[in-house]
Subunit: 101 residues, 2 copies
């Protein structure tokens, strides 16, 4: 079973750019929306809105708040994401295709 978010949650994720080194995903959802379980490689998140989410990783949940345009690092992980705020969640993700050295 593919854990690629473009396959598990095509209503939220789309590929906006891809080459040999990176894949850039756009993510959009609305308050209350929840993803299926999916995996990401190491990536940079660029929030395009300010939002609040719950991430469930291996049965443990963490709440995260992101500010618009505040770039951050997301280490490779498998998770479920849920929009627990009252704003849309809109981000770009720059996935690194090459494994860490």
């Amino acid at each position: 079973m593919s854990l690629d978010p473009v396959h598990t949650d095509p209503q939220f994720y789309s590929v906006v750019f891809e080459n040999e080194r990176v894949r850039v995903l756009e993510y959009r959802d609305r308050p209350g929306d929840r993803t299926c379980e999916h995996s990401h490689p190491d990536m940079v998140i660029i929030p395009l809105s300010t939002f609040q989410r719950r991430l469930t990783v291996g049965g443990r949940s963490v709440e995260v708040r992101k500010s618009r345009h505040e770039a951050g690092w997301v280490p490779a992980q498998t998770h479920i994401g849920e929009n627990i705020g009252d704003t849309v969640s809109h981000s770009l993700f720059v996935e690194l295709k090459e494994p860490a050295r």
Copy 2:
């Protein structure tokens, strides 16, 4: 002489995130502003505004227009950038620290 844009043009470039794999730069300028010559490794550009620039690479100039939030690829290069539009130029750059395989 360092061609790192953070050193050549600190008034325009700042580091907003860095780890072993990536460095994320924020760039901001105003119409008419022009950088010194500087180098970038392979990177992804995330324009946060819509703008128009002239890039001079090895003595040849190209004009580029970028739309807000439209991510794109910038292959490793040394260039001079100039804001030739009538809007601020505001971008994030996700630089890949590891050389291509």
